[in-house]
């Protein structure tokens, strides 16, 4: 027979009355609290009726604490560890006075607890906001739409839900302690809820938490598995771009330093990327062909790609195209650095090239790519 066991415990820590009732139930079943951590660990005892009280911790020095514990023990109350901001006391003597015999005085102890809870909530809230802001730094990267479509939407949604939940929990805790303090100050004794219901609530919360974590982990796995990278020579034909060989056969002649093909298949976007690059003489093509879930996403992605190029080359020449083969199209040039961007329905093709050839001369090629992959 096991001498130690873990139980799922109520976690509404402001609801001290219900936790006390639950700990008393456990003692009646033969279990006394040993440690309160992620789960509550209990030690076997002879089943007995006892009283359990949670006493808001006071800022006593070691000597004062020792003295208080001696008096508590003399009066029948045994210190049994800590739980959040409480000291846990057990009393096995039915004739002993209760730990608190005056609700108004008890309200002072809860007033101190309220201040601590407010401090802790404020500090946790700040750290939480900082953490949340770091999760959203991608929004200012210039590739927010792309990140969103490639799966960050799920991470951001998780972060928002997590922050909302934590804030809600903090507000409930502070509100619960404040309410209890006011009731005690008015002379109303602490009320006790149904421990079984509190444990059920905690079980549901735990299932929801683990489900969210599993979904998030699964999602990260899906994103990771959706990526593939290979040498361009292994890429399926035809390529989703007008390759360097077609744009500038002379520049493409010698062997390239980088020739890579990448794919990404996600829920909202399917992406194909070709990179061809050479240092000397410098020449490169970076092409991306994306099929997204909605036309509005395609419009946003198109705008983002054009905007990113213009941020890098603010003085570039912009030539908007009116061509029936594209819904939107533009050629932007800044010397050798050029960008062709086009949208056709839910497809976006962008090709950034460093070449002396004018991309305007290859509109037929770009249109053919869009038709081929439509």
């Amino acid at each position: 027979m096991k001498d130690r066991r873990r139980f799922l415990a109520p976690r509404d820590l402001w609801d001290a009355g219900t936790i006390e009732a639950w700990l008393e139930e456990k003692a009646a079943q033969g279990w006394i609290l040993e440690k309160w951590g992620i789960s509550a660990r209990f030690e076997r005892i002879d089943p007995c009726r006892c009283r359990v009280r949670l006493d808001p911790k006071d800022r006593r020095n070691r000597q004062q604490q020792a003295e208080a514990e001696t008096l508590y023990r003399d009066m029948g109350w045994r210190w049994n560890g800590t739980l959040w901001f409480y000291d846990v006391y057990y009393c096995f003597d039915p004739t002993a006075s209760d730990l608190y015999t005056d609700p108004e005085t008890q309200a002072w102890a809860w007033g101190k607890l309220l201040k601590r809870a407010l401090w802790r909530s404020g500090l946790s809230g700040l750290l939480l906001l900082l953490w949340a802001a770091l999760q959203f730094d991608g929004l200012w990267s210039g590739h927010a739409v792309q990140l969103f479509l490639m799966g960050m939407w799920a991470i951001w949604l998780f972060v928002i839900l997590y922050v909302v939940r934590e804030v809600w929990e903090a507000v409930r805790t502070v509100w619960g302690i404040r309410r209890l303090k006011r009731r005690l100050a008015a002379g109303v004794p602490m009320e006790r809820g149904d421990p079984a219901r509190a444990v059920r609530r905690q079980r549901i919360r735990q299932i929801a938490d683990w489900t969210a974590i599993a979904l998030l982990a699964g999602w990260i796995l899906v994103i990771a598995c959706g990526r593939e990278e290979m040498p361009l020579s292994d890429a399926p034909s035809p390529l989703p771009c007008v390759a360097l060989e077609a744009l500038d056969p002379e520049a493409a002649g010698p062997e390239l330093d980088i020739a890579r093909y990448e794919t990404f298949d996600g829920l909202l976007i399917q992406s194909r990327r070709v990179t061809q690059f050479r240092w000397q003489p410098s020449a490169s093509v970076q092409a991306e062909l994306d099929r997204v879930a909605l036309v509005s996403f395609a419009e946003a992605l198109y705008r983002e790609r054009v905007g990113a190029f213009l941020d890098a080359w603010p003085n570039a020449e912009v030539r908007e195209l009116t061509d029936g083969r594209f819904d939107q199209a533009v050629v932007i040039g800044a010397g050798k650095n050029q960008l062709f961007a086009a949208r056709l329905g839910r497809m976006v093709l962008t090709e950034r090239a460093e070449t002396d050839t004018d991309l305007m001369d290859h509109l037929d090629g770009f249109a053919a790519v869009l038709v081929e992959f439509q």
């Binding site: 006493d55 001696t70 006075s97 730990l99 015999t101 008890q106 002072w108």
Partner: protein, 118 residues
């Protein structure tokens, strides 16, 4: 509605001050004194006692006079005495009001009219 702290003392607070009026006492002695003085009518739990002692010290109503091992002795201050007297006067007024009303109620006839003194 919560009362203003220490404007009106609860029984526990009153008896803790009372226990220190004549002599200094430690926590256990205070509990024992209150139990004897009230014949067990006013129970003083350890949580209540320590919270009261901490609050009274914070408010300058009592002070620590000695620490011997785990025993800490407290004495009432002038401020504490003043508060005790103020509370005692309030209680006297309460008792006076209560007794006066009770006498008046006893003098009333069953119909609610006042009894004719003649």
């Amino acid at each position: 509605m919560a009362r203003e702290p220490l404007k009106v003392l609860t029984e526990s607070m009153f008896y803790v001050l009372l226990s220190l009026l004549r002599q200094e006492r430690c926590g256990t002695e205070i509990v024992q004194y209150v139990d004897d003085a009230t014949a067990g009518r006013v129970p003083l739990g350890p949580g209540t006692l320590y919270t009261i002692l901490a609050k009274f010290q914070e408010e300058g109503l009592i002070r620590e006079t000695a620490v011997e091992g785990r025993k800490r002795t407290y004495a009432i201050t002038d401020r504490g005495r003043a508060l005790f007297r103020q509370e005692l006067s309030r209680l006297r007024l309460c008792v006076g009001d209560g007794e006066r009303e009770e006498r008046a109620a006893e003098n009333l006839l069953p119909g609610g009219r006042e009894e004719d003194p003649s």
